[in-house]
């Protein structure tokens, strides 16, 4: 059975959940083989988790010299493995780093690149959801060992035992001239709220929130539900909320179980980032706001009375 390579996404000795999504997806094509690139000892910490999610093999590419390297080790290790093992596919998470690694591995190995897929079938056909979910597109690779990036949250993780047989692989040396060096790293401070793109519930505010201070109403509802907070472009452009939380065509694409839009009119720009949410709730003063066209349940009213009441109901129900 052909191997399907999965690049393990890890930070500080902890594996990201998306890695388990990839291991689950890999099983339809062949035997999942996890590839760990990191400092010595990394694979040892991750092995149990990988074994519990079906990794038949774990390629261990560890080196002391990765400190100032920037994505080159991952690219070099994967490209070397593609050449040697001829895997059925290489799976990587859709993230800024993942996309770059995938693109570089694809051009280095002459492989097809299938980006941001949400589904992988046994015959190798992939499904993309594009233009903010307005279209579903199926595609296939015309080369061997396609490199596929997977959208986080698109696969339901299934635990299954795997052998996780370790194999040490060398980290190829990187030509200094062709490499960028890392001179400083400042990891993002993770807040108490879930990651926007991974959250099962997202509560977003728009222009109707009116000010940065008023966003507290959005945050309070989000916190009562353990939700992530999002914002429309209008709210971000008005300086109400930081750009990192923008949902929409030029921001994040989210697809949570529940999306609550407060004071958001629902321009195409915003809908493109959230219309594949399973259930959409909208609160807006304007009964003609386009957001109501896609909302499963809409309330025409003032968000400053509706949202706090909902927060109270949710809190009461939990206690």
């Amino acid at each position: 059975m052909a191997e399907v390579m999965v690049l393990v996404d890890h930070v500080d000795g902890e594996v990201k959940k998306t890695t388990y999504e990839l291991l689950t997806a890999a099983r339809v094509l062949g035997e999942p083989a996890a590839v760990v690139v990191g400092a010595p000892g990394t694979a040892g910490k991750l092995r149990d988790g990988l074994a519990q999610h079906g990794a038949a093999k774990v390629y261990v590419a560890e080196s002391d010299n990765l400190g100032d390297a920037f994505l080159d080790p991952e690219v070099a290790v994967l490209a070397a493995l593609v050449g040697r093992v001829n895997p059925a596919a290489v799976l990587i998470t859709t993230s800024p780093d993942g996309k770059e690694i995938a693109g570089r591995v694809a051009v280095r190995t002459g492989s097809a690149l299938l980006g941001d897929v949400v589904e992988l079938a046994a015959d190798g056909t992939v499904t993309h959801s594009v233009f903010g979910g307005a279209y579903t597109v199926t595609a296939k690779a015309n080369t061997e060992h396609p490199v596929i990036t997977f959208r986080a949250g698109s696969i339901e993780v299934e635990a299954i035992d795997g052998e996780a047989a370790e194999e040490i692989v060398e980290v190829p040396s990187i030509g200094a001239a062709a490499a960028a060096r890392v001179t400083n790293r400042l990891p993002a401070r993770s807040g108490d709220r879930p990651e926007l793109t991974e959250a099962t519930v997202v509560v977003s505010g728009g222009r109707g929130v009116g000010s940065a201070e008023n966003f507290e109403v959005v945050e309070k509802l989000a916190d009562s539900m353990g939700a992530a907070v999002g914002a429309s472009r209008a709210a971000v452009d008005s300086g109400y909320y930081p750009a990192a939380f923008q949902v929409g065509q030029t921001g994040k694409t989210v697809s949570p179980q529940l999306y609550i839009a407060l004071g958001i009119s629902g321009a195409i720009q915003h809908r493109a980032g959230m219309q594949t949410s399973k259930t959409i709730i909208a609160v807006n003063k304007d009964p003609e706001a386009p957001i109501f066209e896609i909302a499963d349940f809409g309330v025409v009213g003032d968000l400053f009375t509706v949202a706090p009441q909902l927060t109270e109901e949710v809190t009461r129900r939990k206690s």
Partner: protein, 259 residues
């Protein structure tokens, strides 16, 4: 310093974007076409670097004849000249093919620094700068929110959701810029007039040494099988708040087992 900026004309994200029914490619005719927003920032950064030292800014695009509008915009912002690779055969090229063509095209131009946007709003591959860098054997410093050139060294503050990483590399190098790098200038009337006289060279595949059999839909490394519009989502219940709006949402969420 020779700065080359990669730009792309895309369908406006505020317009309805569709696919061509015959060959399942993006329908570039039906939507309003604009210079991709992130590219304006790439052009702006190139102009700033030029203004801080010296050099020449060349704008490069590959795309249909209409892409000249995007070139004009960049030139009216202040870029010195433009190169437009246009060929029927390119239609339907995928990301890997596009990277290969851009790398060949860049090979015909003097370049110390190549600047691109971090991700186009249509294809969203989000890796073109890295792929082109890989093919040219150049370092790629991506998602920049700050770029500095000091002699033959380029330094970039890379910012993504994961945090900030400071990178440096020797020139020549490829840089991609993120949303927060700068605010692009508006072309002045003078700039718009001057742009009309700036040189735009139109190249063919042969000019850059690309064989038509390597590019386009027929020769792509990936094939689109089917394009299905998502069934239009229809609105559900809509109620007017009569003092119980929040409670009614809670009831709905309970009935759907969401809380």
């Amino acid at each position: 310093m020779n700065i080359v900026v990669l730009v792309k004309q895309v369908p406006d994200t505020y317009s309805e974007r569709t696919f061509d029914e015959s060959d399942r490619t993006l329908d570039r005719e039906s939507a309003d076409a604009v210079l991709d927003e992130i590219n304006e920032r790439a052009v702006e950064e190139a102009l700033k670097l030029k203004e801080a030292g010296e050099g020449e800014v060349t704008v490069v695009t590959m795309g249909p004849g209409r892409a000249t509008d995007a070139i004009r915009k960049a030139l009216s912002m202040g870029a010195d000249k433009a190169v437009h690779l246009s060929a029927e055969a390119l239609h339907g090229s995928d990301a890997v093919q596009t990277a290969r063509v851009l790398a060949k095209l860049l090979g015909t131009l003097d370049h110390d620094l190549v600047i691109a946007g971090n991700e186009a709003s249509d294809g969203r591959t989000g890796a073109m700068a890295a792929m082109v860098g890989e093919l040219l054997g150049l370092p790629s410093l991506t998602h920049a929110r700050k770029v500095e050139v000091d002699g033959r060294t380029v330094r970039v503050q890379r910012e993504t959701d994961e945090g900030r990483t400071d990178l440096e590399a020797s020139l020549p190098a490829v840089v991609s810029v993120g949303e927060k790098i700068n605010e692009p200038r508006y072309p002045s009337f003078k700039g718009i007039m001057a742009a009309k006289k700036k040189p735009v060279s139109t190249l063919t595949l042969a000019d850059v040494g690309v064989d038509a059999a390597e590019v386009g839909l027929e020769n792509a490394l990936t094939s689109v099988l089917q394009v299905t519009p998502r069934p239009a989502k229809t609105g559900g219940q809509k109620v007017t708040d009569e003092g119980d709006g929040g409670a009614r949402i809670a009831e709905y969420l309970i009935s759907q087992k969401l809380i």
